[in-house]
Amino acid sequence: MFRWKRNFPVDLADESSLSRREFARFLALVSAGFTAGIGYLWGRKKPFDGAPDSSGLERAVDLGPAAALHPGESKLFTFRDADDRCIVLRTQMGDLRAYRQTCTHLGCAVRYDGQRLECPCHHGFFECGQGFPVQGPPTRPLSGINLELRADGRLWAVGDLPKPGDPRRLEEPA
């Protein structure tokens, strides 16, 4: 017998044995934890980083003259608050799109490489038409911002777009 076993005569089989009732109680408590988690999500009013705001509050942010943004170019702005970082871009086809910069994988900031939105952390890529993930770990689309081109030629960010596939997303952005 090893000396340490003589010094510490603990029967490991007894130490780690778990009765069925203890196991059942553990699982029931895990279940209660999930319920508490869902309750927290329900009670939390502030949207998570990168998630669209469903509070219905109206906001409008002036993004400057639309003509200043050429195909393949992008510009950063903040929308909901100073931490809500977003990017507006003009695609190679000339369309204007805006998204939250928060990658839907683990939350790094995406950037526009002239063709696609790229997340440098794990090389995730999103197409810029609707923000769908096209390569790498992300599986959910980026959160889109609704754009409005006003008569004076200035571009405004005016709200959250429902995610693609959501029935509330009836209109295409500008």
Binding site: R20, R21, F34, I38
Partner: protein
């Protein structure tokens, strides 16, 4: 030889609680994904369903008699 009734109840209760834990994991993951996509409409329903499942699991885990009476090894 048929198994004693107690042992069958034990297995059924354990299987049910295990199933509840798996359903809860799936439910939480689904709800979190929906919230991150800005859809909060399913939160009340999901919370009630989750609460009912948890209450059943808690009652079973604490109140079912003979839960430790498995087949003798």
């Amino acid at each position: 030889m048929s198994r004693p009734r107690r042992s069958r109840m034990t297995r059924a209760a354990l299987a049910f609680i295990l199933m509840v834990a798996v359903i809860q994991l799936y439910l939480f993951e689904t709800v979190l994904g929906a919230v991150l996509d800005g859809q909060r409409g399913l939160l009340p329903g999901a919370f009630v369903a989750s609460l009912v499942l948890t209450l059943v699991a808690l009652v079973l885990a604490w109140k079912v008699p003979h839960l430790d009476d498995g087949p003798k090894s």
